[in-house]
Structures are given as C-alpha cells and as structure tokens.
C-alpha cells in the first residue's frame, strides 16, 4: 500500500509539474479521492454558495497541480441544494451511499448544515462545515469541525469586539439600540450584544426584530433615531443591510459608534452601491486585506479567484467567506496528508489533536469542533469617496479595530456627518 502510494505520488507530482493540463490524464488512470457536498447554487443563499464553490474548485486545482492527495487526484462531487433545507438529507445520502464519496464536507450556512447532520452522524463521517453557527451545540457530534470564526460561545463572545470599540470613544456612551433580522445568525448576534451590553455600562433603549420581507426601513430607523442611542447595533442580511443604510443616510442618523453584525457590507456589490455611506461603519467581518492578516497563501488564492470571478458571476473581490471555503478544504487536505489514509476515525482524531496552517491563519479546534479561539473581526470602513472597488483590494479601507492582535488602525467617530 505504502509502496504503491509513494510511487503514485511521484508519478502524479511529475505529471503535475510537467503541465497543468495533465490533470485529466491522471483522473482517468487513477482512483480519485472524492469529496462530496451540496452547495446553494440557486435560491436565497446562492450568491455566497457560488463563490464558495469557486474557491473550493480553485483549491482542488491547486492540489491536483501539486500531484493530488495521497497520490490520488482530488475530485469534487457537488449538488445544488437550491437553498432549500429539505433537499439536503437526500443529497447527503446520495453522496455517501450512491456516489460513495470518500469525504463529505458541508453546504454553506447553518440552515443547510443542520439538516445534513443526522445523515452524516449516522455514518460516522468526519465533517468540516462552512459558516455554521452553533450547529453542534446540542448535537455534540465528536467528528464535527467548523470553519467559522465565531467559536464555541457566540452569546458570550460575538459582540465583545464591537463593544470593546466603545472604549476607544472620547466620551463613554450610555445607551445602545439593537435591531436584528429574524434569522438564526442575526438573532444570536443580537442575543450576544444584549447579554454583554450591561458589562459595558450601556442601557438598551431600543431592541426589536424585523422580518426578512421588509421593504422600507425608514419608519424603523426613525423609531431608533427617536430613542437617541449613542451606540447603534444592527444585525441584518442583504438586501436589508442596504435598505437600512440607505434609510439611515436619508434620515441623517448619526451615532458615536454605529454598525454591528451587518451581512452585506462584506460583499463587493454592496460596497460598490453604497460607496461613502459605509464611511465610519464599524462592522463584523472575517477578512480584510490589512497587513496584519497577510497569511501565507491568501494573496495567491485571491489573485486566482479574482481572475475567474467575473465569468463565474460571483463576488468580484473574494474578501468574505471565499478564503474560508478554501481553508475548509485545506483542513481536510492536511488531515488526510497526516493520517495517510481515508479513515473517518483517524481523520477526526487528527483534527481534534492538531493545528492547521491555512490561508486564513492557524486554526485549532475545540471539543465541540468550533475554533478553539474565536476571531470575530470588527472593521471600520474608512476614507471612502466613491463606489470604486479597487481600494478594497488594498489596506486602509477596511481597517481592523478588533481583535487587538490584528488591529491595523484607529477608530474614527461619529458615523454620519452632522448636517
């Protein structure tokens, strides 16, 4: 077995070194390692799902160019779950039972990961998930590993970075408002800020949720404005993040510290549309091209990603979940390389025990399979004059304020220029 593997590896490496187009040849004559998962390529989650898939395809090409894994080429087997959780269980049984994939990884986002869990658990598959939040809290599956920065205790840690920024303000703020969309991640974010607010001496003066079908945010923003909060926390999803920030600018709302856990400003299309409205927004994020986050390999990945994003009609920058989708596969890659075989128990053992060097930094997993140390970034948008996206490729536009070890600039206040 080892003999054969080593020889195979050498041959594949040679082929990979000779020419990149040699890959189809390898795929035909050797038995590939098949990695299966579903992704949302249509429906509400498709925008992120498609760009995650592109990132993972780039990973597979990189690996195959290096000669594959364990001497075998890597093949991705993917299905479109149409952003519908009800499709997920049957797709995962298909992957495991019919396609007989060697490894399964997860779809994108909690709502899609959760319905895959019973199937995956029943088969004892080692499972690396992408951007799930608290999926394993109740299931406590010991072969679950999560590629997401939020860590074990979302409630106790998520909003801390945002609230830490209040200490950077010239005058200590007294009041805070909370508005969150009715979905899993935003509600967890709101719960976190609710729990931690008192610790930072903040009184909650507005605390409400809104349904995802909201068209006009003007009345809601005005009600928040009437409560006169010093700190404003939104937890929203696209396209609502857009609607909220437009309404905020129309009503000339200002606050000493403004932002929160808005999903949307991380996305290139939203950055292009909102332009200077984003100035001084302090928002949760996972990646920013600041010098403090130049992990090995991330530049090379983004260069490849950006070259292909336009024709694949996905996010043109790849500054959000894309590096994490790549890193998700790197975890699988490194565990396979270390254990030397496709053995679910051994893989899980390896993932529990070791740390992983990825393009999003070094990662170690906790007992629950989350990141042992959470890394919620809070970034501030600065110096934006227009919707041109070029500046988002460079440092200085999304300045990291938290965590301290990645900090790359200082807080500007307030949000929203007074009239």
């Amino acid at each position: 077995m080892t003999e054969l593997t080593r020889r195979g590896l050498g041959r594949a490496a040679l082929a990979g070194a000779l020419t990149a187009s040699a890959f189809p040849a390898i795929a035909q004559d050797s038995n590939p390692i098949r990695i299966g998962y579903s992704m949302s390529l249509s429906g509400g989650l498709a925008a992120n799902g498609r760009s995650a898939l592109l990132a993972q395809r780039i990973w597979a090409e990189d690996v195959n160019a290096r000669g594959g894994l364990l001497g075998r080429p890597v093949q991705l087997v993917t299905y479109d779950d149409q952003s519908n959780p009800a499709n997920v269980p049957s797709l995962y049984t298909k992957l495991i039972d019919v396609d007989k994939v060697d490894i399964v990884t997860s779809p994108y986002a909690t709502a899609m990961i959760a319905p895959s869990m019973p199937v995956v658990m029943q088969r004892g598959m080692t499972y690396v998930s992408l951007f799930g939040a608290g999926v394993n809290e109740r299931l406590k599956y010991n072969r679950y590993f999560s590629m997401n920065v939020t860590g074990d205790d979302i409630k106790g840690t998520y909003a801390r970075g945002f609230l830490e920024c209040t200490k950077m303000l010239p005058n200590p703020p007294r009041t805070i408002s909370i508005l969150a969309v009715d979905n899993d991640f935003a509600q967890r974010a709101a719960e976190s800020v609710r729990t931690l607010a008192r610790e930072y001496g903040l009184r909650i003066v507005y605390d409400r949720s809104y349904p995802p079908s909201t068209v006009d945010f003007t009345p809601t923003v005005r009600a928040i404005q009437a409560a006169r909060p010093d700190v404003v926390f939104f937890a929203s999803y696209p396209p609502d993040s857009n609607g909220i920030l437009r309404a905020v600018s129309e009503l000339r709302m200002t606050a000493a510290l403004f932002g929160g856990g808005m999903i949307g400003p991380q996305i290139a299309a939203v950055q292009a549309q909102l332009g200077p409205i984003l100035n001084n927004l302090v928002n949760w994020d996972v990646y920013s091209p600041e010098p403090t986050m130049k992990f090995p390999g991330v530049d090379a990945f983004q260069e490849k990603y950006r070259a292909r994003a336009p024709q694949e009609q996905t996010d043109v920058l790849g500054n959000y979940l894309q590096p994490y989708a790549y890193a998700q596969m790197q975890v699988v890659e490194q565990a396979l390389a270390r254990t030397g075989k496709v053995d679910q128990a051994a893989l899980a053992e390896d993932m529990r025990a070791n740390s992983f060097g990825t393009i999003v930094g070094d990662i170690r997993f906790s007992a629950l399979g989350e990141w042992a140390k959470e890394r919620n970034l809070f970034v501030q948008f600065q110096n934006i004059t227009d919707g041109d996206l070029e500046k988002y490729r460079k440092p200085g536009t999304k300045v990291i304020l938290y965590p301290p070890e990645l900090k790359s600039g200082s807080l500007k206040t307030p949000y929203g220029a007074p009239a």
């Binding site: 925008a47 809104y210 006009d216 945010f217 003007t218 005005r222 009600a223 009503l251 299309a269 549309q273």
Partner: protein, 293 residues
C-alpha cells in the same frame, strides 16, 4: 413638535411613499386580475424582469432608470400580448382558466425567476441615479427622493392609464370587457383583441414598476416573492376592477405597515397587514373600496 406626533407624521408620509411603490406594482395587476379576471401570479416576477432590463439598458447607455422604464414599456407590452395569446389559446378559449390558467402563470413565474438567475446570476444588481441619494426636508418631515420619484412616476402612469380607460374607445371597451364580453361582440368589437391589449398594458405597467423598484432598492431574481402577497391583497382590498380603489388600498397598506413598524416594531407589520386583509375578506369580501356585488 411633539416627538410622537413627528414619528406618526413621518410614519404616515413614508407609508404613503411606500404605498406609491405598491401602487406601481399593483396597478398593472388591477387591470389583468381586476378587470380581466386573469390571476397573473407572475406579475411581480415580470416587474423584477423589467427591473433587470432597466439596469442592463440603463447601465449600458447611461440613462436614468425611470426613463428607461418608460422607454422599454412598449417592448413589454408586446411580451404581454404574446403571453396573453398563449393563455387565451390554451386556457381561456377552452374555459380552463380557473385552475390550469393559474398553474400556467405559476410556471411562468418560475421560468422568469430561474431564467434571471441563469442570465444574471443570483447576486444583487443596482442602478442608482444621483437624485436617489437626496432627501428633501419639510419641517420635521423627511421625503427621500429615492421613494418620491418612483411614487410620482407611478402616479403619472396610473393617471395616464385612468385617462385612457375613461376617455378612449378602446379604454372603455377594456372596462366593458370585464362586465360583459357578449355586449362587446354585439358592438362588433373583438373581446379577445381588447383583452390582449389590456393584458399587454398590464405587463407594460409591470415594466414601469420594475424601474420604480430599481430606484428604491437593489434587486435580485427572487425579489418578487415579497410582492406577490401584497399586490394581490391590494387589488382585493381595492375592490378588484377599481383602479382608484387599488391606489387607495396601496397607500393604506403602506401606511399601516410603516405606522406599525414605527410604534410596534417591524416584526409584526406583515402579520398586521395580512391579518387585516383576512379580516376585510371575512367581513367585506367585495373589498374596502368595492361596491357590493
């Protein structure tokens, strides 16, 4: 001004502006659904398709989205007559419109939404004219042009439609076809031709509404889901065949939604708006502004 009064006034004004957008979306449906009895559930999807066309053309030629919306209306009129031809040929003529016709438009809705995903991808698209970032202030009341301009366009389009329906022979014939197609036939007017024109007009209005939508918010292929329930609710509350009723209902719907959001939080505003519709249906099925049958 007392803060509560200011909140209430602003809630009402923003509700009226939102109502303007709803009126744009619902006016075409008031023609097809209200007057022709065609349950075009794909109407909001056509509106979003119109929005995508606006973004595509507007970006390419550097034109204002509302202008493009008006310019492209004739093309959508032709599309509408085409859809009606198919609908009439396969369903109406056979007397199958109730169930099968509904399923047909369900299918059309699916085809449009997924077709847009395949053409443009699932990402949000936008085209903002400069004025969309301007807000007028009248005392303590804010009027964002992002909401006002589409509302004004909607009113202009609906006004033109009203003039057409009440002043021109064809318009009168459209109003009459809802009541009694046989009478039209006696007047040597082909009811099918009249209906085809009316349906074309309703789709053209959807295209105009698409332009209005683009100014208000970025759109993606599934943006129409939010509007399906609302526009039908508005047509029913408005009393079906009544254009003015639909406009009134649209404003009322917007105001109820936004005043609820102001004072009780946005969480309950759809339930309040739709609960209210259920109540109207249970107590006064002919709609708030409709005449008793």
């Amino acid at each position: 001004m007392d803060p509560t009064v200011s909140l209430l006034l602003n809630g009402i004004v923003s509700g009226l502006l939102l109502g303007g957008l709803y009126a744009a979306a619902a006016s075409g449906l008031a023609v097809s659904f209200g007057m022709l009895d065609i349950v075009n559930i794909a109407h909001p999807a056509l509106m979003v398709a119109g929005g995508f066309a606006v973004i595509l053309i507007g970006t390419a030629l550097g034109l204002d989205p509302l202008l493009v919306a008006v310019l492209q209306a004739p093309v959508f009129y032709l599309l509408g007559t085409g859809i009606y031809r198919a609908y009439n040929h396969f369903f109406e003529r056979r007397g199958d419109e109730a169930l099968q016709g509904l399923a047909f438009f369900f299918g059309v809705m699916f085809i449009i939404e997924v077709g847009l995903v395949m053409l443009f991808g699932p990402e949000q698209r936008f085209l903002d004219p400069d004025y969309a970032f301007v807000t007028w202030r009248l005392g303590e009341i804010d009027v964002p042009l992002r909401m006002l301009a589409p509302a004004l366009l909607a009113m202009a389009a609906i006004g033109a439609l009203w003039l057409f329906l009440t002043r021109s022979f064809t318009g009168l014939a459209i109003a009459a076809v809802a009541q009694d197609p046989e009478a039209l036939r006696l007047m040597a007017v082909d009811p099918v031709r009249i209906k085809r024109m009316a349906f074309g007009i309703s789709v053209a209005l959807a295209a105009v509404a698409g332009g209005a939508l683009v100014v208000v918010q970025p759109i993606d292929p599934s943006s129409h889901h939010v509007f399906i329930g609302r526009v039908f609710a508005i047509c029913i509350m408005g009393g079906m065949a009544s254009l003015s009723g639909a406009v009134m209902a649209a404003f009322l719907f917007g105001v109820v939604e936004n005043v609820t959001a102001t004072f009780y939080g946005p969480s309950w505003s759809p339930a309040v708006a739709f609960g209210w519709l259920l109540l109207v249906l249970a107590v006064r099925p002919q709609g708030l502004f409709g005449r008793a049958a």
